[in-house]
Amino acid sequence: MSNKKLGINDFVRDTEEHPYEKDLSKISPVDKKSMIETGVDVSEKGRAGTFIQLDHSVVHAASLQKGLEVMNISDALKKYDWLKDYWWKAVAKDSDEFTVLADKESRNGYFIRALPGIKASYPIQSCLFLKKQDLLQNVHNLIIAEEGSELNIITGCTTASYVKKGAHIGISEFFIKKNATVKFTMIHNWAEEVMVRPRSKAIVEEGGTFLSNYVCLKPVHSLQMYPTAVLVGEGAVARFNSILYAHSGSHIDVGSRVILSKPNTKAEIIARAVTSGGTIVSRGHLKGEAPFIKAHLECRGLILSSDRVILAIPELEGKGKDLEMSHEAAVGKIAKEEIEYLMTRGLSSEEAQAVIVRGFMDTTILGLPQELQKNIDDLVKSCQEEAM
């Protein structure tokens, strides 16, 4: 696998449009299969809405529950003039070359909104799908949970099975109003030569909750992101969980940051990183700016190959007194005593290691619906078999 450095100019920007598809059953079986691996089920069983974007084209966007909106962001911006009060208001458009490019020429993305007091009975699913080889997909998403609402979003980003090279820039801005909750689960299934640069920020108001799960288990060329939650209202909560697996040739640099700027806010960051051949930089940053906040960061890394690197960088930044902030980080190999313990129950050394690695990437920390949990467990199993 190549470790060649890729930049935004190494990809094509334009491709043909794909037609809108009202009937999801007409999605090709091959694409369906790729989607299901990221938790996106076109049967829409147990889903409150679906958004699918192939390359630059939104091919489906519809809500199945009253009070929930699922739209192409381009349509939403035309429909709601007030959206300009949210557009680029969480993420700064001049943050880096990727946000600058997104500002200049982003192509669609999703708009998901729950009206005040509306509680989504099922998750809304979204899929950003790279179908054209060498394409740079550039989307801008906006998620608004109005006061007292609850949203559960599963978003899967993936490529067609034949796409080996491409790029994905995704700006995601979350606005979580007073006492609203957003549970956001993102599953990335990219390919060996795909460069991925998501840029996300959540603004969480008083009593609001933002739960973010991130899973990346398949090969990727390079992935760099540092999603941030800013707790701007008293009693707001943010939690980030991530499960990362770096295959040979993958460079993964993923962090999570929470800025606790009001009293009685809480944050937790949990990361599990495993490398069988790639490099992982696992970052975490908790910034406490107000009294009576509580924040914890936990990062565990497992190195399965003797010459690989996991760099864990946990940062705690406290300002003022009455803060309760802590972190724990551990990086190492599988403990011999654990392998031998499992062997006493009849497992071979290889089987024991596989069970321990799967356990290490404990997907129950994500608190997912049972069906999606099973999808991810299958994915963990298959990625591990591939790696071993």
């Binding site: 565990r300 403990a335 005593e337 654990e338 031998e340 313990y341 499992l342 062997m343 006493t344 129950r345 009849g346 497992l347 071979s348 050394s349 024991a352 069970v355 321990i356 799967r358 356990g359 290490f360 990437m361 404990d362």
Partner: protein
Amino acid sequence: MLSIENLHIEVSGKKILNGVNLNIRKGEMSVMFGQNGSGKTSLVMAIMGFPEYRITEGKIILNGKVINDLSIDERARLGIGILFQRPPTVRGVKMRQMVELASKTSQRKFDMGKMAEKLNMKEFLDRDLNLGFSGGEMKRSELLQLAAQSPELLLLDEPESGVDLENIALIGDVINKLLSKEKSALIITHTGHILDYVNAGKGCVLENKKIQCVGSPHDILMRIRKYGYKGCLSCHRKEPEKVREESNKKNVK
């Protein structure tokens, strides 16, 4: 079932056992006494095949086959099972999963729910293996896994340590149930409390890197309680009956 001949064990170049001989017949439950640090755990670890317990001389024979060179899992599949005194924590691996894996080794149907209920471990099935378990919970977790694994030879390393009285009775009851007529066990203890609850037929004492005496486990325990382990080193000169007589006389006084 198990025959150990002139076994010498080293750990990190240090001699731990020096010529141990031991026989456990099919269907026999044998209890091994010994002070802390006498090498009892090292012996069971060597029988189980842990590579750091290096055999420098002698043989471990299971059902007529020398197993010195077999790996841990090969020995497990031949029917040896171990209850650890202090099992490691395995984060993310759930107890339910471990019990399922252990029952695959035995290739027998196993009613996990029923046994978990008997051992008061039902609510632990979806917890990480041994994470935050108390001493008693660890032992009950080990027994649940062993019940699923259903080994022919059970090596039980201090099954009563860290367990409260109520649970010792439960553990003793389950051990007795695991040992059908066909199965054998070696129970390591330094307090002997477990003897009140299990039907052990044979006892021995490990001291100074060797087995020092063999006899009725209750008699041996009586001697140890009367004379201490030091006195036990010379106890082989005394007949068990004589010790019992002396003990009775003392009680009459």
